[in-house]
């Protein structure tokens, strides 16, 4: 389990925030440190994940795909089978227990792909809390199905339409909201980034993934896996999958970043490899940022909204710097190919974020021996990506369907305008 020295991981991490946020972070740090050493709290957390989210998630072998690729045996850690469809719920459930202890009534969150926002909206509904979710306006368009669900769950979704209109701007906006509302609001940061104690705290809640992989691998494989692979946006699913193997040098740990369209500035989200990114201090912490010489954070791109982020967890930045974690990247087209392979061979629909891990994991498995085992963390399911996939693989049939759907929706809106009581009737029934 990782733990920081004053919120620092090597040269990365720290707490570089406007003074107004400091007391809330100190309060969170105190509560986290108390609970971290409280085994009862961890048991309460595990019980909640089991009863509400369906843990443990399975470790699924991929026999047909493994045979087809001709290298190591491939296994998937099925975080996609969590309630809400992604690993994000692990962290949100944990932070919800913290909110309960702090007695706060409102939660805010930033979200890229919408999975963290969705998980936050779900827990707000479950606990009767008010929720506001900040989301880049570009991501709102890319992940509208999640926006729809968040609003149905009762959360306020605020599109952020300045800067690059993606995750980093949503994070800035959430920090601004928090600066004005710290007394009654908790910021449920969604990944292992941001000011201390968030990187460590989010990793703490996500480590349940690697705890389970470890136990399941021993049971199903009879040994630890030879490699664990995960995609890296902010880094929470990767750290969750890697955490319990950090002291096991026989287990190779591989993070896969978004290679996007190319390695030109603004066309990818590669921070952990080469010198595309450099150390910087922004958004409350020090890490590797894609930035220019003036320290302005750069534009990013990924086919997966959840990986489209300019910074990376300081914990991962340090682990890569120390050589414990390797990093690679997958381009948008490699990702789409991996996505199709998993569907066609194994009947599983992965998220585009997780498909980066698939692309990197498949490439690694091909180079390994048939007696070896690779576990790929399938961080989320692909339902939310249906529009993106349909755009990446354009088909006339899909276009025809959308046209019919627009016609039907217009018809329903006209009907409800003519008969407003129908809507009111529905709302009062709810």
């Amino acid at each position: 389990m990782i733990s920081s020295e004053q919120g620092l991981f090597g040269e990365f991490g720290g707490r570089y925030v406007p003074e107004i946020l400091r007391p809330a972070l100190c309060q969170l740090e105190d509560i986290y440190q108390q609970l971290r050493s409280d085994e009862n709290f961890w048991q309460e957390y595990l019980q909640l994940t089991q009863e509400f989210s369906g843990r443990p998630t399975p470790l699924t072998p991929l026999p047909r795909l493994s045979e087809s690729l001709g290298g190591a045996k491939i296994w998937l850690k099925r975080e996609d089978l969590n309630h809400s469809g992604a690993h994000k719920i692990n962290n949100v459930l944990g932070q919800a227990l913290l909110v309960k202890r702090m007695g706060k009534q409102r939660i805010i969150a930033e979200t890229g792909a919408g999975q963290h926002g969705l998980a936050t909206a779900i827990i707000a509904a479950r606990m009767g809390l008010q929720a506001t979710i900040y989301m880049g306006s570009e991501d709102v368009e890319r992940q509208y199905s999640n926006v729809f669900w968040m609003r149905q769950l009762g959360a306020e979704v605020v599109p952020v339409s300045h800067g690059s209109c993606t995750l980093k701007d949503a994070l800035d906006e959430a920090l601004r909201d928090w600066a004005a509302s710290v007394d009654d609001t908790h910021y449920v940061l969604g990944t292992a980034c941001g000011p201390a104690p968030f990187p460590e705290l989010v990793t703490y809640f996500q480590r349940v993934i690697s705890q389970e992989i470890r136990a399941q691998a021993k049971h199903q494989i009879g040994a630890l896996p030879n490699a664990v692979v995960a995609c890296v946006g902010g880094g929470s699913n990767a750290l969750g999958a890697f955490c319990d193997f950090l002291d096991e040098p026989s287990v190779r740990l591989l993070g896969v970043e978004a290679g996007g369209r190319s390695q030109q500035p603004g066309q990818h989200s590669i921070r952990l490899q080469g010198d595309l990114a450099s150390p910087g201090i922004a958004q409350g912490y020090k890490t590797l940022f894609l930035q220019n010489r003036d320290g302005q954070l750069g534009e990013t791109h990924s086919i997966a909204a959840g990986l489209d982020y300019v910074g990376v967890s300081p914990v991962l930045a340090d682990l890569v710097a120390r050589g414990r974690v390797d990093a690679t990247s997958a381009t948008d087209s490699e990702v789409t190919h991996a996505f199709q392979l998993l569907m066609r061979y194994e009947g599983i629909i992965p998220a585009l974020e997780s498909s980066h891990a698939l692309a990197g994991g498949f490439a690694l498995a091909k180079k390994m021996q048939p007696h070896e085992h690779v576990v790929i963390n399938l961080s989320g399911r692909g339902d939310k990506d249906i529009f993106n996939i349909a755009q990446a693989l354009p088909q006339q049939e899909w276009l025809d369907f959308l046209k019919r759907e627009v016609t039907r929706t217009e018809q329903r809106l006209r009907e409800s305008a003519n008969n407003p009581n129908r809507e009111e009737q529905y709302v009062s029934n709810v």
């Binding site: 720290g14 707490r15 570089y16 925030v17 406007p18 003074e19 107004i20 400091r22 007391p23 300045h162 800067g163 980093k168 701007d169 800035d172 920090l175 601004r176 600066a179 004005a180 509302s181 710290v182 007394d183 910087g280 201090i281 922004a282 958004q283 409350g284 940022f289 930035q291 010489r293 003036d294 320290g295 302005q296 954070l297």
Partner: protein, 254 residues
């Protein structure tokens, strides 16, 4: 020169370097000086200004597209500090542009450009401390911030590291919204004054003449920034400066 303690209220105003354009920054500053402003913040535009509200965020986005940068801020400072020696220029930046430049070199260049102080909202006192001797040597005053939720012991710590002025954030939140100056604010100011003799600059929510009246006699500096940038965006620099002249006169007239 920074104001001294118990001096009458001074107005500090603002320039986002690159907004509306680098050329107009110079004229805008001339206008502010003509309006009687003697304290001006030069803001290095930043891609992720987390302590700023919508007005300054939007100004930063535009400024960056129009060539605003740390270097451009130094270049502007060199010109305007020579042209207006009676004015105290303060650099306002987030930490990353300074960090990328190299902190000691950045402090040297800030001093060389005729800038007398710096305000960096995301540079906490503990991270700034190793650089304080160099700032002292080069005559660059670190102007740190305290907020309503800052504990008294920490106010003392921040105040002891500050020079020139102590920036008092008037309320919880980001720049650009309104503030109430009631009893709670008075208690807060009294609490801050227990820990420092530095002149106090109050910012975040100073938008009207009434705000200035409320601050008169209580603190030495009022940061009248977001509202000025809003006027500048809506009316142009010339008319924004006219409004600032009325603001300054309203203090003297009262």
């Amino acid at each position: 020169m920074f104001p001294t303690s118990n001096e009458s209220l001074k107005v500090m105003s603002h320039c986002v370097v690159g907004f509306p354009s680098l050329e107009e920054n110079e004229h805008a500053i001339d206008g502010l000086v003509a309006a009687g402003i003697r304290l001006i913040e030069l803001q290095v535009p930043f891609s992720d200004p987390v302590a700023d509200g919508p007005v300054l965020v939007n100004a930063c986005v535009k400024a960056l597209a129009r060539g605003g940068s740390f270097e451009a801020t130094l270049a502007l400072a060199r010109k305007v500090s020579r042209r207006h020696p009676e004015v105290t220029f303060v650099l306002m930046s987030y930490l990353n542009p300074i960090y990328q430049y190299g902190i000691p070199a950045a402090i040297d260049e800030i001093a060389n450009a005729g800038i007398e102080g710096i305000i960096v909202p995301d540079w906490p006192v503990e991270a700034m401390r190793p650089h304080l001797p160099h700032m002292e040597k080069r005559g660059v005053a670190p102007i740190l911030m305290v907020t309503p939720n800052t504990a008294s012991t920490r106010i003392a710590e921040i105040a002891s590291a500050s020079r020139g002025m102590l920036y008092v954030v008037s309320r919880m939140g980001v720049t650009g919204s309104s503030t109430h100056w009631g009893e709670e604010f008075q208690i807060y100011i009294a609490r801050v004054k227990k820990h420092t003799n530095l002149p106090l600059a109050v910012g975040f929510g100073v938008r009207t003449r009434e705000d200035l009246q409320a601050l008169r006699g209580r603190v030495e500096v009022a940061a009248f920034c977001s509202q000025y940038i809003e006027w500048q965006a809506e009316l142009g620099s010339e008319r924004a400066a006219e409004r600032m002249a009325q603001v300054v006169q309203s203090i003297h007239a009262a």
